[in-house]
């Protein structure tokens, strides 16, 4: 039981990073990233290839993931920044699928659908429970660091400018904000955070494959961020831990629903995710930790 909870806390930490990524892009800047799973994948593959095949130390892999994520984020968003935000949503959705196709077929680079197994963790795996506790400490430290950094960024003049862009691009532009540039910066940083989450996931579980990075992951993160409050890093982070608690709780709940087959129980669990997201959007849109200054000064 303890090892189950430790494991879930590590996974929740990785989802917390994804949630923080989405918080910056969506909550603060108003850019919907439906391709979160794609950036998650880019980071996982960047770090895994650099460390496993390039023999680099893990910290270098994490840096490679950050860089790869930022570059990919910039490339993806740059063509849509002058358009309505819906376009970015569609482009990112396509991006995530494209990443999966490339990862499945470029076997020389990614190991194809076989994936990459035996990714070094940078910590000795034969510590047993100690390994998981050490990983938990490491991942939690990263989550904490990103949380602190995001809080400062969001509170800074740059963060206020992002919120101004979110509230009204035209007003922000008239007020002298460089809207396109601000959006590109925020999106690239956000993508880098998602990539960092991917890198940590690969090093912790030792295995990545294209099938991990399915669109459902993105929906999960939206659920997390909505639950916690999308405008605040604290909300997003807490939301991610609640998400994992919710996902696992549905597993036990599905076992007590009488008279349904295993398949129907599985369908009910996925339904619960969708229903929870709809209900939260409707009744608790600002989340558990609502943004304090709802309207930013332009």
């Amino acid at each position: 039981m303890v090892s189950y909870i430790v494991f879930l806390l590590v996974i929740a930490g990785i989802y917390a990073l994804l949630a923080q990524s989405l918080c910056l892009a969506w909550g603060v800047t108003g850019l919907v990233n439906l391709g979160l799973a794609g950036f998650f994948a880019i980071g996982a593959y960047a770090s895994a290839t650099v460390v496993k095949w390039g023999g680099a130390p893990v910290p270098l892999g994490l840096l490679a993931a950050l860089a790869a994520g930022a570059i990919a984020g910039f490339v993806v968003c740059v063509s849509t920044l002058r358009l309505r935000d819906d376009y970015l949503a569609i482009v990112t959705l396509g991006f995530a699928e494209a990443v999966r196709v490339v990862a499945s077929n470029e076997i020389w680079l990614t190991g194809g659908t076989d994936g990459i197994s035996g990714i070094p963790a940078g910590l000795p795996r034969d510590w047993g429970q100690g390994f998981h506790l050490a990983s938990l400490a490491a991942v939690s430290a990263v989550v904490g660091a990103v949380w602190l950094a995001l809080r400062r960024l969001v509170a800074s003049p740059w963060g206020r400018a992002l919120r101004a862009v979110r509230e009204d691009q035209v007003v922000a532009a008239v007020a002298g904000k460089r809207v396109t540039r601000l959006k590109a910066e925020a999106f690239a940083i956000s993508a880098a955070i998602a990539a960092l989450a991917g890198a940590l996931y690969g090093h912790y579980t030792s295995y990545i494959a294209p099938e991990i990075f399915q669109p459902l992951v993105t929906i999960y993160v939206f659920l997390a961020v909505t639950a916690g409050g999308n405008g605040r890093p604290t909300g997003a982070t807490v939301g991610a831990y609640l998400l994992i608690a919710f996902l696992e709780a549905t597993r036990f709940a599905a076992e007590v629903v009488p008279g349904v087959s295993a398949l129907q129980a599985a369908a009910l669990r996925e339904m619960a995710v969708g229903v929870a997201l709809i209900l939260l959007l409707r009744f608790r849109q600002r989340g558990i930790f609502p943004e304090l200054n709802q309207k930013a000064p332009a």
């Binding site: 063509s79 309505r84 949503a89 569609i90 959705l93 396509g94 699928e97 494209a98 997201l277 959007l281």
Partner: protein, 288 residues
């Protein structure tokens, strides 16, 4: 290779025409209600199952099963709209989009709960293709092609000649002006959602006829639908048709030109290229 290319073009035009039906539904909802409805894939699946039930349980022929698909998907679309999306109107297009994504997940799993994951095939004889020299076309394909064209013609007539259709176009063109002229926005929104979701449902059934029906049948189409709609310009009705045919052709020609496994990437690159070079799409209007 010219024959291979021409054959791929024929295949692409036909595939694109079928794709145009759900793409029209997506773009119509976008034009009038101003948000991308990400439940479109699940709505297509609803239509596919409804048509399948109509066909196999009640023995309906295809032309009669198609309206069943339309009605079922339209009802599901209205349910999604009223229960998930509409309450978020004040929160903006993105919130509505996300709610529709969640609603799509719910719909997909309701179908899985009810029907299981088994593949369901329509009760329909499969015919060999007709051959014209070096080229071939399938009778079924032609039938689907004609049905798809009929759907589009009906939509066109509806938008052009009916009062509600004209009101929809008015709202799409200029919302405020339309409201000033006394268009009932609630009614127009409801009709648009019903028509849009219904088109998606018919599209799903047309694809299901050609493949088989399972809970993911519509989801597999989603990216092609988006690519088609964006390529034609989000919210443009003729654009969705042109975009769908272009995507259909591009996906088939890509089989000859590159690795066939890269089909999805073709759609994605097409979206990126269009948005970079000509953001309004081939026909589009409302990009800014």
């Amino acid at each position: 290779m010219p024959e291979a290319l021409i054959q791929a073009l024929i295949n692409g035009v036909i595939a694109g025409t079928i794709l145009a039906v759900p793409a029209l539904g997506f773009t119509a909802i976008f034009a009038v209600l101003n948000y991308p409805n990400f439940a479109i894939g699940a709505l297509a699946t609803v239509g596919a199952y409804a048509g399948w039930v109509g066909n196999t349980a009640f023995g309906l022929p295809m032309a009669a099963a198609l309206p069943v698909a339309f009605v079922a998907a339209a009802l599901a679309g209205l349910a999604v709209q009223w229960m998930a999306v509409k309450p978020l109107e004040a929160a903006g297009a993105l919130m509505m989009a996300i709610a529709s994504l969640a609603a799509g997940l719910v719909l997909e799993n309701m179908l899985r709960f009810g029907f299981g994951n088994e593949l369901r095939g329509f009760d329909l004889p499969l015919l060999r293709d007709w051959r014209f020299g070096a080229f071939r076309v399938g009778p079924q394909q032609v039938e689907n092609f004609v049905l798809a064209l009929a759907c589009m013609a009906l939509l066109w007539a509806f938008l052009r000649f009916s009062r509600t259709g004209r009101a929809m176009r008015a709202v799409a063109d200029n919302r405020d002006l339309a409201l000033l002229r006394g268009v009932d926005p609630v009614r127009v929104a409801a009709v648009t959602v019903a028509v849009g979701a219904g088109l998606a449902g018919m599209g799903g059934m047309l694809v299901g006829l050609d493949t088989s029906v399972d809970p993911l049948v519509g989801t597999r189409l989603v990216l092609s639908i988006f690519a088609a709609a964006v390529l034609g310009g989000l919210g443009s009705i003729p654009g969705a048709v042109a975009g769908a045919i272009a995507i259909g052709v591009a996906e088939e020609v890509a089989v000859l030109a590159f690795n066939p496994a890269y089909r999805l990437v073709v759609g994605f690159v097409a979206i990126l290229a269009v948005l970079t070079l000509r953001p309004a799409g081939l026909f589009g209007t409302r990009a800014g």
